[in-house]
C-alpha cells in the first residue's frame, strides 16, 4: 500500500517535471510541424545545425556570458550572505525586523519596478550596459534568497563549536576556515545554487540594465522566439535548461531540510 503510494507520487513528479519537456524536445527535433497535426510531419536536426553553426558563435557567447554572470553573482551573493546570515541567525540586535523587511523588498516589489528604478541610478553611476551593472541587478534578486538560506542555517548553528576550536588552539581566522565554513558547506551550496539559478534565469532585468549590450542566454532566447522560428527557440531553450538541471543534479544531495537545518 505504502510502496504503491510512493510509486504514484514518483510518477506524478516525473510527469509534472517531464511533460513540459516533451513538446520542447519534439519542437527542437521537428523539421516541419504544421497545424492541425498532433505530431511533427518530419523530423530533422535543422534547428541544432542552426544554433551550432550559423548562430553558433552567438549561442556560445551567450552561454559563456550567462555562466560568467551567474557564477560571479553566486560567489558575491554567498560571500555577502554568510556574514549577513550569521548576524541574523545567531545574534539579537536592534532593527533586526527592519533588516529582514528590507531584505525581502526586492523579492516582493515586481522585478520590473526594481530594474527600472535601478536603471536610472546605474546610468548615473556608469553601470548601465555593463557586465558589472547586470551582476549588480541580479544580486538584488539573488542576495535575499542566499541570505534567507544562510539565516536558516545559522539559526540552527551551534557557536559552541567555535569556542571549542578556539580553546583547542585555533585562531579567529582558522575558526572560520577550518570550522565554520566546513560546517555550513551544505547551506553554502544550496545558497549558491539558488543565487546561480536566479541569475541564470533573469531576463527582464538583464534586458533593462544590459540594454541589449550584455547578451545572456535568456536575452538571446527571447530574440530567437520573437523571430518565430520555433524549432530554434526550442533548441536554445534546451541549451538554456541544461546547466540548471546539471547544477541541480550535483547539489541534490545537499538539498532538503537536513542540510538547511545546519549541523548541531
Amino acid at each position: 500500500m505504502k510502496a504503491c503510494r510512493y510509486r504514484l507520487t514518483g510518477l506524478a513528479v516525473v510527469l509534472a517535471v517531464g511533460l513540459p519537456f516533451v513538446p520542447l524536445v519534439l519542437w527542437a527535433l521537428a523539421d516541419r510541424w504544421f497545424f492541425p497535426a498532433l505530431w511533427p510531419q518530419s523530423f530533422g536536426l535543422r534547428a541544432w545545425t542552426y544554433i551550432t553553426s550559423t548562430a553558433g558563435v552567438q549561442v556560445l557567447a551567450a552561454v559563456g556570458q550567462s555562466m560568467a554572470v551567474a557564477a560571479i553573482t553566486a560567489v558575491i551573493a554567498v560571500a555577502m550572505a554568510v556574514p549577513a546570515g550569521r548576524a541574523l541567525g545567531l545574534y539579537e540586535f536592534k532593527g533586526k525586523d527592519l533588516v529582514s523587511i528590507l531584505l525581502t523588498l526586492p523579492v516582493i516589489v515586481p522585478p520590473l519596478c526594481v530594474a527600472m528604478g535601478l536603471h536610472l541610478w546605474f546610468i548615473r553611476l556608469g553601470l548601465a550596459e555593463t557586465l558589472g551593472g547586470v551582476i549588480g541587478v541580479h544580486l538584488t534578486f539573488s542576495l535575499p534568497y542566499a541570505i534567507f538560506v544562510l539565516w536558516g542555517v545559522f539559526a540552527n548553528y551551534n557557536p559552541d563549536f567555535e569556542d571549542q576550536a578556539r580553546s583547542l588552539g585555533a585562531s579567529r581566522f582558522r575558526v572560520i576556515t577550518r570550522v565554520m565554513l566546513p560546517m555550513i558547506l551544505p547551506g553554502i551550496s544550496v545558497a549558491a545554487l539558488f543565487a546561480f539559478l536566479l541569475s541564470w534565469s533573469q531576463y527582464l532585468s538583464t534586458l533593462i540594465i544590459g540594454g541589449g549590450r550584455v547578451m545572456t542566454l535568456p536575452v538571446l532566447l527571447f530574440a530567437l522566439m520573437g523571430s518565430g522560428d520555433r524549432p530554434v527557440a526550442a533548441a536554445v531553450s534546451l541549451v538554456f535548461v541544461t546547466p540548471a538541471l546539471v547544477a541541480l543534479f550535483f547539489s541534490a544531495r545537499y538539498l532538503g531540510a537536513r542540510s538547511l537545518a545546519g549541523v548541531r
Binding site: N158, F161, D163, S167, L168, G169, P182
Partner: protein, 345 residues
C-alpha cells in the same frame, strides 16, 4: 607545571555581576571540582579561565603568569564542553589531532601523540570512525582525548558526564580519575552533582549564588559544612535551634553533650544528617527525648528514607532497616558527636 590561581575574579554580563570576588587556587596536579547548582556561574568561570569570556575584574594566573588579555588559543588551558562538540566533517583521529594541527606540530609526532591518547582513553581501533557512528560515551571520550592530547597546564572540564547515563557516567568518572592520576594533569572540573564532585576530586569548591562558600576536601565539605546552606546542598536536613550552655547544647526536646563551644549562652542552629539519626520502634516505657509518628516512607533500595513528625518538628531519617510503615510510633536518637552547630545568621 599547572598552577592555576583566580584572584578576586569578577564577571558580569551587562551591569549584572554573575561572579563576584571569586578566589581559588588549584595546585599543580590537583583535581578540583567546582560544585554548585545550575545557574551558579560555574561554566562562566571556566569560560573566563579558557579566555572565551572577558572578566570585568580580578586576575587569572597560570603558573604565576597573568593570562588576562591573552587569546584563548594562546592560553595553556583547554576546555572540554558539556556536549562533545566533535567536528562532524572529521573522523575520530582528525578530531583528536585538531589541536595539534592548529599548533602546526610535525605530522609524525602528532600521529604518535594521538595513538598514545587513543589507548589512554580506550579508543584504539576507532580512529577511522565517523563521529556520528559513535555512541554517546565514545563521543565524550573523543572530546576528552582531543583536549588531553594537547597536554595543557590546566584542563577545564564543564560537566562532561552530564549527558551520559548512570552506568556510563560511573565508568567515565573512573577513567578521568585514572587519567588524572597517570598524567598528573591539573584539572578544574565543573559539576552540579555532589556525589560526582565528592568521588572524583581532591578538593571541592562550592559555589552558591555566584559566591564561593567553602573550599576543602570532600570529607571536610560533607562532614564540616561552613554554614547551613552548604550543609543543605549536601543533603543536610533536620535543622533545629537551641542554646549553648557550657558543654551542652540545649534544644526544646533535649540536651546534648557537644563539647566546649565558643559563644557560651548564644543561640545556635544545629543539624544532624538523616543517616546519623538512629530510629527504633517506640517502647512502652520510652524515655527517649524525641518520639513521633512516621508520616512517609520512601524505599530507595539500599536505604529507606523516613519522615517522622515529632512535637519539635519533622525529622528525616535515612536507615538501612526496612521494617517501618507510615503511622508507626518511633523514637529517634541523635548521637551528640554527629550534631553540627552553626552560629545564627
Amino acid at each position: 607545571m599547572g598552577n592555576l590561581s583566580l584572584h578576586n575574579l569578577t564577571v558580569g554580563y551587562g551591569r549584572r555581576n554573575i561572579i563576584q570576588g571569586f578566589q581559588l587556587d588549584v595546585r599543580d596536579g590537583e583535581l578540583v571540582s567546582l560544585l554548585g547548582p545550575s545557574g551558579a556561574g560555574k561554566t562562566t568561570i571556566l569560560k573566563v579561565v579558557a579566555g572565551l569570556l572577558p572578566p570585568t575584574g580580578g586576575d587569572i594566573l597560570i603558573d604565576g603568569r597573568s593570562v588576562i588579555g591573552l587569546a584563548p588559543e594562546q592560553r595553556d588551558a583547554v576546555m572540554v564542553f558539556q556536549k562533545p562538540l566533535l567536528f562532524p566533517f572529521m573522523n575520530v583521529e582528525q578530531n583528536i589531532a585538531f589541536g595539534l594541527r592548529m599548533q602546526k606540530r610535525h605530522p609524525a609526532e602528532a600521529r604518535q601523540n594521538v595513538a598514545e591518547i587513543l589507548s589512554l582513553t580506550r579508543l584504539a581501533g576507532l580512529e577511522g570512525r565517523k563521529v556520528h557512528a559513535l555512541s554517546g560515551g565514545q563521543q565524550q571520550r573523543v572530546a576528552l582525548a582531543r583536549a588531553l592530547v594537547l597536554k595543557p597546564s590546566v584542563l577545564l572540564l564543564d560537566e562532561p558526564l552530564s549527558n551520559l547515563d548512570a552506568n556510563l557516567r560511573q565508568r567515565m568518572r573512573d577513567l578521568i580519575q585514572t587519567i588524572q592520576a597517570e598524567t598528573g594533569m591539573t584539572m578544574l572540573f565543573v559539576t552540579h552533582d555532589q556525589s560526582e564532585a565528592l568521588t572524583i576530586s581532591h578538593r571541592v569548591a562550592l559555589l552558591l549564588d555566584g559566591r564561593l562558600r567553602q573550599v576543602g576536601t570532600p570529607r571536610e565539605l560533607f562532614h564540616q559544612p561552613a554554614d547551613p546552606e552548604v550543609a543543605r546542598f549536601f543533603g543536610g536536613k533536620n535543622f533545629f535551634q537551641g542554646r549553648v550552655q557550657d558543654e551542652l547544647f540545649i534544644a526544646d526536646f533535649g540536651q546534648f553533650l557537644v563539647g566546649r563551644q565558643a559563644g557560651n549562652g548564644h543561640l545556635r542552629t544545629a543539624t544532624v544528617r538523616p543517616e546519623d539519626i538512629i530510629i527504633a520502634p517506640r517502647r512502652k516505657d520510652s524515655t527517649a527525648a524525641l518520639t513521633g509518628r512516621i508520616v512517609k516512607v520512601n524505599f530507595e533500595g539500599s536505604a529507606t528514607r523516613i519522615v517522622v513528625a515529632c512535637a519539635a518538628g519533622e525529622f528525616m531519617v535515612l536507615t538501612a532497616q526496612d521494617r517501618f510503615t507510615p503511622g508507626d510510633e518511633v523514637e529517634l536518637t541523635l548521637p551528640p558527636e554527629k550534631i553540627r552547630l552553626f552560629p545564627l545568621p
